[in-house]
Amino acid sequence: MPFFPVLFHRRLVALLAILLAQPVFSAVQPSPGASLSDEEIIRQYKERCEYILNQTIETTDPNDLSTGSLFQVAVNLHKGTNIEWARKRLVFDNQPPSGNMFWVLPMVLLMQVAKDIEEETGQSLLTNDDWAFIRTLWRTYFPYRGDTENHWIMYYVSLYLAAEMFPEDGPERWYNGKSSAENMAEAREYIEDWIKITTSYGQGEYDSPNYIGEYTRPMALLAGWANDPVLRQKGKMMMDYLLLDFAVENLNGIYGGAHSRVYPRYLVQPSLTASAAHGWLFFNQGEYLANSSNILIALSGYTPPPILLRIAQDRDNPYIHRELKRTRWRLRNVGETAFEIDGKSTIPVYKYSYVHQDYILGSSQGGLLQPIQQQTWSLIWYEPKPAGISNTMFGIQPYSSPFEGTMYFGENWDTVTDLISRSKVDYDSEDKLEGGSPYEQIFQHKAALIALYDIPEGTRFPLIHTFFSRDLKNREENASGWIFAQGGPAYIAYRPLAPGEWKPVDWTGLLKSGAGNYFSATLSPTSGFEPLAGGSESYVSYELQNGYIVQIASVKDYDSYEDFKNAVVALPLEFSLTPTPSVTFTDLEGTELSAQYGKAPSINGKEVDYSTWKLFDGPFAQAEKESESLEMIYGQERYFLDFKNARIETSILPTK
């Protein structure tokens, strides 16, 4: 019974915290904006962290050894609750160990948490046998490093921290036959290299609403537990960096703009994403969502700078935000625009977002920027309670090909599509909702977007389609050729350049059958296809030379829906589809936008110069290419991340 007093105390605190926290978080929070003090922002953040931990305890069933993640085990160890369950679950869950890079990370977390408590209290939560069991796992289980950017950073951060806990251990104690010192040196070199490349050229797996947690988890691990002060500091700084990247394209907790990777379930329900869970934790927006990354972050002690919440919440003035990212490393078919970083090929990704208090319209330039799960452009509109609402619109040319597969994966031409489709089942389906195409070019200026397609004969899926949510109101096809609709506080005008037809989303039935586990075939409100995506439609066009124009406006900018429609119909528009698609369109602000497939677009006759694109370029964030730095600005508040020197600067700017 040595833990009884600790347990009793922790349970009491946990119960009180739940009781206190419950009413506060059961409803959507109003946005306090810039009016809150730093101290108050941090206090509320810590409350939310505590709420997460308490919720995790609440959902632990100490009588059931068959369920409960290692994250949940870590929280119970941290809180001193259900210790026997936690110890047994640790063993049960590792019979045998599995998950590779997804295994190493929570294992390190629970080891660090157990060590913290043991150092804090002088009492052992885990027995010597438990620790021996853990050490045996690290000797006998050979986890795969993986093949994506997120796999590698999770793997190496975890390896670093695991080795750091046993710094004197020799090669015989580790699965890979390397000593702790060797593992730490290798892991550190990779971590530092990843940070340098990210802050110099942008992330390869950029701005993913699903995978943001695969980066914040390892960075929070570093920030929370690295003994090395430089790595600890860099972990904190990269957390700030990743969250700023989200904050500037955030609308009420939803990640707007173009994304490297999104799964279909989350494309149609943005409020279910890991980024939405982060939106609640870091920006106090949206609603609580159970999320393992949030659990780890809550345990880590990482505290975001208050400027992040202010930037995320301030949507008083619409703004343009540009970013420079890069593609995943290209192995073959690298293309003419490719450049090398340390011997590996990539091409630039030019991101553009127009962030408005009522919507975010964002895009990348099109092309094969990411394998499989790219979202080239998207619209999201503001919803006060976005859960269950499909508050989004996007379009794709459903491309699948070994050309793309072998560009990014080392597999063979004949097997790569099959192997991709085993985990991303919709990859080779014409009604898929995500993916890039080499025949797609996107150009955006503020709230107007032009998409052009030049699809060769013989392409596997010779069509384009655009997602029209069931939650759009007043959708109508106007005699002028425009399709109009309203999404929340945003008016939407969509002008197809070639005829199309309406089909139910997922018209092949692949997803609604439950394929790929993205959607349950049942009517579960949180995972069933019908509750999440049923009723939405796709506008499908089979013309090979094709395109469309999207024009968004705030409802509050027009006296009526009719006024908006009339204004759009009156806009000057010229286009042709042959020999290649081209458009000249004057948007609602009177700016003339010209785009021709295969050429650089122009604004009022001036060609857009992508060569000057910065890593971050907007009112809240600035970063030059290759700078290894990031400047956050909010009013007079300046927060500067200097990765070269592992240094954070905060300052107050002079009044303008």
């Binding site: 599995s98 190496y156 290798e186 004949d414």
Partner: protein, 346 residues
């Protein structure tokens, strides 16, 4: 034929001084596995690693660590206790005949497709990878990139010329390249197509014969020690050929297989070819090799439908590809990335 056999034995004995005591080593068939067809709805490969064929019990048995995405393996001709695994994670080496293993590469090396060791100096180890050629001059303790002269880095295979160990050929996605200075520099072999070369092999009986499988151009063959190459097997001229092999006991016997092709066999040095193996459960061939211990036996792996052998040049096929009781895995239904022979200590 006599000449070929005698060449083989001359070569065999010529290399003996380089080997450890030959009475202590034997050739073993290996299968390097990426995954099995049971993998669904997950990016994490299922069963994978290395399996060796137990000729006594006619069974496959797991060898080495359970490690994912193994593409190939090789042993040091001068010391078969040194074993190298070519893995997605990098290179894993054993120096004690498989008792213990060590990942000898760091984070810069990954997606290794093939490894060869200099038969005259086991310190020189060469690896092909998705990121180019990486070499070690200290038996695998340290590694560095060696891509000077390569047009594209992605390399599927690499072979060291055992008669002239400073000469290597590498199969890249831009064609075949040769090095005459132990991989310090590379130059394109002019008569080869500038397309992806998927597999590469050299005959042990007649070292003048080299064979390569291509992406989209079928099989190419050299009969002058890799200097000039010609297209062969017209029936495969547009196929993607993943497996090529030559008979170590008879340089006239060649075999090739690729996607949708089944196995094609030549018994006259490539002058004529016959399509065999139509009764195999799949015509998608991922790897093939002639047996180095049993003359006339040919092995072929189909894509996730089993690994088979034929003792009658492909007329009939047999499989011992069954689950091993008590073993941690099997190659049943595996995606075999490579099939070949290594020398192992008895």
């Amino acid at each position: 034929m006599k000449f070929l056999l005698s060449s083989f034995f001359i070569l065999f004995f010529a290399t003996l001084p380089l080997l450890a005591d030959d009475s202590l080593v034997e050739p073993k068939l290996f299968a390097a596995l990426g995954m099995t067809k049971s993998q669904k709805a997950s990016p994490i490969p299922t069963d994978s690693g290395v399996f060796l064929y137990d000729t006594v019990n006619e069974r496959w048995r797991r060898f080495g660590p359970t490690i994912q995405q193994v593409n190939s393996l090789s042993t040091d001709p001068s010391n078969p206790e040194n074993i190298f695994l070519a893995c997605g994670n990098g290179i894993v080496r054993s120096q004690d005949n498989g008792k213990t293993w060590r990942m000898v590469t760091g984070w810069r090396e990954s997606d290794i497709t093939k490894i060869v060791i200099d038969p005259s100096n086991g310190k020189n180890v060469y690896a092909a990878s998705a990121w180019g050629v990486t070499i070690s001059r200290d038996g695998g303790d340290s590694w560095s990139a060696a891509n000077e002269g390569l047009v594209e880095k992605f390399s599927n295979s690499i072979v060291v010329d055992h008669l002239n160990p400073k000469r290597l050929l590498v199969a890249t996605t831009a064609g075949l390249f040769v090095s005459y200075d132990s991989a310090e520099t590379w130059e394109q072999i002019p008569t080869t197509p500038k397309i992806a070369i998927l597999g590469l092999g050299r005959n042990k009986a007649d070292p003048n014969i080299w064979i390569a499988g291509t992406e989209g151009n079928g099989v190419i063959l050299s009969s002058d020690n890799g200097k000039t190459w010609q297209s062969t097997a017209p029936g495969l001229s547009t196929a993607n050929i993943y497996g090529v092999t030559t008979d170590p006991f008879n340089g006239e016997n060649l075999a090739a297989g690729g996607w949708g092709t089944g196995i094609w066999i030549s018994t006259d040095g490539g002058k004529s070819w016959k399509n065999r193996g139509k009764e195999l459960p799949s015509q998608n061939i991922t790897a093939t090799t002639f047996d180095y211990a049993q003359s006339g036996r040919l092995w072929a792996s189909t894509f996730e439908e089993g690994t088979f052998y034929s003792d009658d040049m492909g007329v009939t096929w047999r499989s011992d590809d069954v689950v091993v009781p008590g073993a941690t895995g099997s190659i049943l239904g595996a995606y075999v990335n490579d099939l070949g022979f290594i020398s192992v200590k008895k």
